[in-house]
């Protein structure tokens, strides 16, 4: 633990040194940027810092109805073609012969049909997917102009008026959570319905899920529904080895899911 902390300290120290060096050499260019940043910061809602939003997904509860996918597309004006999704549902079918078949026709928005005979199937289940709002987000790291950023309350967003459409972030996301919006020509993805959160509402997908397979909440709050979800379930995240620290947490996730 203390070793970990020490390492963290050292990293911070190195980061500071690097920043100091860069700032010193680029000071004349940086002055206007700093001004801009300061004005941005003053606008930050102090209160936001007290939250860290996240989503829990109860894999066993999902019935693959796809209503979340439809609701998301409507709420967020996501193009309706089957190549652009802020959230989608995958169906996993594990066969008796050990094979795993995964599908997500039209993102699962129209439900699922299967032509595999009952006898061949060991079991099957549905996995809703969306941006993981990683705490250590590779997409934010690579954005050359800072158009992708993390809000103080832990939501990863894209500023569509700033994004240059280089698509580096799409390459860097390990989860396929991003697409290039063909209308705005900028990177796009799930925002946890940030416009709804700021009004005290739940994300659209959470709101419409008939089985409450999606649970939204604040991981910093002791009494949130999400904390309760953590208390009663064993939790996993997707691709933990990549150290992205996802903030979408899965209960009863099967090892085959990527």
């Amino acid at each position: 633990m203390s070793d970990c902390k020490q390492r963290g300290d050292r990293r911070k120290f190195l980061e500071t040194c690097l920043k100091l060096g860069i700032t010193a050499s680029a000071a004349p260019f940086l002055a206007p940027i700093e001004k801009l940043r300061a004005s941005k910061l003053s606008r930050v809602d102090e209160e936001a810092l007290t939250h860290q939003y996240g989503m829990g997904i109860n894999v066993k509860a999902c019935i693959g109805c796809g209503r979340c996918v439809v609701a998301c597309k409507e709420e967020n004006e996501v193009p309706k073609e089957p190549f652009f999704f802020r959230t989608w549902v995958e169906k996993y079918t594990l066969l008796v012969n050990g094979e795993t078949i995964v599908s997500s026709p039209n993102g699962g928005s129209e439900g699922f049909q299967s032509d595999i005979s009952e006898g061949e199937i060991l079991r099957s289940f549905f996995v809703p997917k969306l941006c993981n709002h990683c705490k250590n987000p590779p997409c934010v790291q690579v954005c050359p102009v800072g158009a992708t950023f993390t809000t103080p309350d832990g939501v990863v967003l894209v500023d569509k008026d700033y994004c240059i459409g280089c698509r580096y972030c799409i390459q860097a996301c390990p989860y396929g959570a991003r697409y290039l919006n063909p209308i705005t020509k900028t990177a796009d993805k799930c925002t946890f319905c940030y416009h709804r959160l700021s009004k005290g509402l739940l994300p659209a997908c959470v709101e419409v899920c008939p089985t409450q397979a999606r649970i939204f909440g604040d991981t910093k709050l002791r009494s949130s529904r999400l904390t309760r979800f953590f208390r009663f379930n064993e939790i996993q995240v997707l691709k933990p080895d990549l150290n992205t620290e996802p903030q979408v947490f899965y209960a009863r996730l099967d090892g085959t899911v990527r």
Binding site: K19, I22, I33, L36, E81, P82, F83, F84, F85, W88, E90, I101, V102, S103, S104, N106, G107, K129, P138, Q141, V142, C143, P144, V145, G146, Y162, C163, I164, G165, C166, R167, Y168, I170, Q171, A172, C173, P174, Y175, G176, A177, R178, Y179, L180, P182, I183, T184, K185, T186, L242, R258
Partner: protein
């Protein structure tokens, strides 16, 4: 937008296995293949030039100026494919104004500007100043003004001034070598640092990029030198050609070893992604990777160059073999870039399926645009050589500097 949607439906039909729904659109296409190919040629051509000035390989003197101008011509075009492929090219300037320092790509503008201003233009200035002064003296009117402008009105031809030029060239080249390494190693880093993508993510990526860059740069200068000499009815300097082929061979050996190491390493570590990557190579990249990159672009030239070194054939035959090897190498390196950039997007990050890349013919990301961007540097090079003589036997070069 309709065209894009139509295109994506067509792509969807060729998907095999499962890919994430957002992965049907392949984001970095032909233009992004061209970008590292061009910067590679820049770095390679510059390294070749530095062999003359810093490492004193006198035999290569006939190609020195050509290498410099080639580097400049390709550097001018290098950012264009990137710019053309952006969703909002009009916002690209933000990379300079509000760069995000943690992003590898944000450094592009600075690395590029540094290389162009602090290295290439400076070196070309000092190398050509005396020549331009002499040319300016013998012309009039606008032409004279243009020559004077290019010398920045520094017309001193005294031995002391010429000596200073020579020293400056040496120091700029010295600075230029690590800069060229930075320029292209950095492009490799853009890909190598993406941990989400097992095909790209590798510490070796910048080094592999660098050596393949050197290979491609030398091969390109060799091709241009031979064609241009024939075209000018001048004999090819065989000593120079042999040395070029030597360095081409050395760079090719290092490049091949590095890529082989990368390959063995992946195979031996056999990580989770190995299955889908192997499947991708067999199924989607067989022609571009196994046939063009490995067989035609690496092994055949490698063996030919080694044979030429061990048992040199008569000049004419040797010339032909060098030329063909260089052309094959060029095709091989282009395939390398293709296999990295496009290959890295043909498999799903779910490791469960493959998609395809369908290139359009027209349009900003299409084949014609790409070909245009590949030919453009050669046109620029031709224009540059109108003003800046590239050949040591051209009269304007017979300045006091020699």
């Amino acid at each position: 937008m309709e065209k894009l949607i139509e295109h994506l439906y067509a792509v969807m039909k060729s998907v095999s296995g499962f890919i994430y729904p957002n992965e049907v659109e392949l984001h970095w296409g032909f233009l992004v293949v061209i970008y590292p190919y061009l910067t590679g040629l820049v770095a390679g051509a510059f390294i070749l030039a530095s062999l003359v000035k810093v490492f004193k390989v006198k035999a290569l003197q006939p190609t020195y100026r050509l290498s410099l101008l080639t580097a400049l011509a390709f550097l001018i075009v290098a950012p264009l494919p990137l710019l053309a492929h952006l969703g909002h090219p009009e916002r690209s300037i933000e990379i300079f104004f509000t760069p995000h320092f943690k992003s590898a790509m944000a450094m592009f503008g600075f690395v590029y500007a540094w290389y162009l201003m602090a290295v290439l233009l400076l070196e070309i200035y000092f190398e050509y100043r005396a020549t331009l002064v002499v040319q300016g003296n013998s012309s009039r009117g606008l032409k004279k003004l243009a020559y004077r402008l290019m010398t920045l009105w520094s017309t001193d031809l005294s031995e002391k001034a010429l000596n200073l030029d020579r020293k400056a060239v040496y120091f700029v080249t010295l600075l230029g070598i690590p800069s060229a390494f930075l320029l292209h190693g950095y492009v490799g880093f853009i890909f190598g640092s993406i941990k989400a993508n097992p095909w790209w993510s590798s510490v070796l990526m910048p080094v592999v990029f660098l050596f393949s860059a050197i290979v491609s740069g030398i091969a390109l200068v060799l091709i241009i030198y031979m064609i241009k000499s024939m075209y000018r009815w001048r004999p090819i300097d065989m000593k120079c050609l042999d040395r070029l082929a030597d360095f081409l061979l050395y760079a090719l050996i290092v490049d091949f070893s590095l890529e082989f190491l990368d390959f063995i390493h992946r195979l031996y570590q056999s990580e989770e992604s190995i299955g889908i990557l192997a499947h991708m190579i067999e199924d989607r990249l067989f022609v571009s990777l196994i046939i063009v990159q490995l067989l035609l672009g690496t092994l055949i030239p490698l063996v030919s160059l080694i044979i030429m070194k061990l048992k040199p054939l008569p000049d004419e035959l040797r010339k032909l073999i060098f030329f063909l090897s260089a052309v094959l190498i060029q095709a091989g390196i282009f395939s390398t870039r293709w296999n990295v950039v496009v290959g890295g997007q043909l498999f799903s990050k779910s490791y469960r399926g493959l998609t395809i890349y369908k290139m359009e013919l027209s349009g900003i990301e299409g084949l014609f645009m790409g070909l245009f961007l590949l030919v453009l540097p050669l046109v620029i090079l031709w224009i540059l050589t109108r003003f800046l003589p590239a050949w040591s036997d051209e009269p304007a070069l017979n300045t006091p500097k020699g």
